[in-house]
Symmetry: C2
Subunit: 346 residues, 2 copies
């Protein structure tokens, strides 16, 4: 489309700084005839402290009007653990049915990895985003006593599993290696595990060109550090996806370059794009944050909206920038943003 | 005690081979006046195929008579996923209340790690063994239809969490660095997360010398590959423990050297010791399996039964054997066992 109506949520900590650079690069990469409109929203710790609100129905109605959402980071030590996560981040993923949580991992030339040797890493994790242990089902009885019992219920539906598995197969089919791994723990979590495994095997029949494998989540963490080149596309549950994508980010250059998309493929609701790193309060406000993960999230956003060429230019710019860093003095957040803006425009 | 009455469960695949070496080293290390009695049990895939049984009440009664259990591995591709895990391994852990699942990770000199540099790794994970998502609570409705719903319920009790947290604090207190990290996901799994966090903070008051930290499981996977030296003792839930201990094993020399104990600290039931690796059917029967993880599990077993000096001798023998491997031709399972038996006797 020739216009983008973007909701911008800088959020907390370094979120403010990295989103500014994301927008800088976005403006620089877009052709003149694509009209970019942005509206900033003040979600996060400040709003919560001021009003007690995290994300109201009116907020959701407003966000719905946008083509997509760019988010920096939400979370601050001044807010009790879980309040902003459940009250904002997860509420938004669930309200907008962001069932495809897309997290690419690619080790770019010149980027340091904690792994020995020169591993070839280029895979994408399709993490389910609206089910599993993230539903908030569960509860507590006799809270604070020696007889307290707390439960967490992982909810898995054929509907929810099939749509994300199908999405992952389609992505695998479109990639040169055409490989898809299902990660679960079906030998212990047998109810959910059988549902995932059966649907995975059923959908596999529709994609005969895709090579599949199954692995337990514990074994997957081993492969991610010993044979990361083994992976092409991974599909997995919400919680396992949370865990393996942080590990995947760590081995493929760190969360400084890990981008993500919370996608509603039907387009019924706007999709949201955000760096995987959090608000990093320890370095906030110092211009030290690397905006690359946010800029790469902008590329995912553009690709989602059909601006393939611009997305490719951003990916190339970030890759080129990273490749030239070794031995150079550290740059500030905005200096990196400026450099990327120049590259994508050029 | 001056006698050890041991239940031996070789099990499936390489379990047979590695347990033979574990027993060889155990016999070699024990002083003349300690009487070792062993009784072998035939659990695993063969028994299941022959009788349909995995672990009967009579089996449990028989196992109860022993001082400890040494297990090789249980699991075979010929048995549907979950049958032996739920029917034997987890059934035994739950029946014998093995709530402390102890998994040390130490990168020994001369041992290869997938991590770059020369990381210093020496920590122990105390994984809860009788609660969390492992309870088998949950179920399936409308199985096999497009309306299937499958749930898994993580059950967490103050009783269960407090005892394992207390055990972990005591272990941290006894180590030179006196550090304990709680790993959970309390920003999303808020019911269980708050229970764990509150109890952790409460028990911490009794151990003022122990330095504590909390980290989310996703962040923990990053630290395990970027700063593994950060860890001393880790306490965590059953499922998170399953995941982080495989990753921990991978970075500290691989599952070929990862030992574990499923411990009932009260001694009401015998504790069980097993290598973390599984039955590895692909290399079974070929004499290729490394028995070191089993031998190190025998050391954990001896330490549990109060034979500290013998446990130390085994640890030293394995360390010395590993340190001398580089550049030498590969040895068979029994050759490694022979070498270790010579070392511990000497
Ligand atoms: C902050 C938290 C709710 C979130 C998650 O667990 O999904 C984060 O870890 C992520 O991976 O996006
Ligand atoms: C085989 C399986 C039941 C087991 C577990 O999940 O606990 C294994 O992975 C382990 O870590 O001992």
């Amino acid at each position: 489309s020739r216009s983008i109506n973007l909701a911008v949520i800088p959020g907390d900590g370094i979120g403010q700084e990295v989103v500014a650079e994301g927008l800088k690069v976005l403006s620089a990469v877009l052709p003149q005839d694509v009209k970019l409109e942005t509206k900033e929203y003040d979600f996060g710790a400040r709003r919560y402290h001021a009003t007690g609100e995290t994300l109201t129905d009116a907020d959701l109605d407003a966000l719905k009007q946008h083509d997509a959402i760019l988010l920096g980071a939400i979370g601050d030590p001044s807010v009790p653990s879980g309040v902003l996560e459940r009250g904002f981040l997860l509420k938004l993923r669930f309200a907008f049915d962001h069932h495809v949580n897309l997290r690419p991992s690619k080790l770019l030339p010149g980027v340091a990895t904690p792994l020995a040797g020169e591993p070839q890493i280029d895979f994408v994790v399709v993490r389910e985003g609206t089910e599993g242990p993230y539903t908030g089902n569960g509860g507590t009885i006799r809270k604070g006593t020696e007889h307290e019992v707390a439960t967490e219920v992982s909810v898995n539906t054929a509907y929810g599993v099939e749509r994300v598995v199908r999405d992952a197969f389609a992505r695998a089919q479109a990639r040169p290696r055409k490989k898809l791994a299902l990660i679960h723990k079906n030998n212990v979590l047998t109810f959910a595990g059988h549902l995932w495994t059966n649907i995975f095997n059923k959908v596999a029949e529709e994609f005969p060109e895709v090579t599949t494998e199954y692995m337990h989540v514990d074994a997957a963490t081993i492969y991610l550090v010993t044979q990361p080149e083994r992976f092409d596309v991974i599909v997995t549950d919400n919680l396992f996806g949370d865990i393996v994508t942080d590990l995947a980010a760590a081995v493929s250059g760190g969360i400084g370059v890990a981008a993500s998309g919370n996608i509603n493929p039907s387009g019924e609701f706007p999709s949201m794009f955000e760096p995987v790193h959090g608000s990093a309060p320890d370095i906030a406000g110092q211009g030290k944050a690397d905006p690359s993960a946010t800029v790469l999230s902008v590329a995912l956003l553009l690709r989602h909206l059909g601006h393939e060429a611009e997305a490719d230019r951003i990916d190339a710019a970030v890759a080129a920038d990273l490749a030239e860093r070794t031995g150079k003095p550290a740059r500030s957040t905005s200096e990196i943003g400026d450099a990327l803006a120049v590259r994508v425009a050029g």
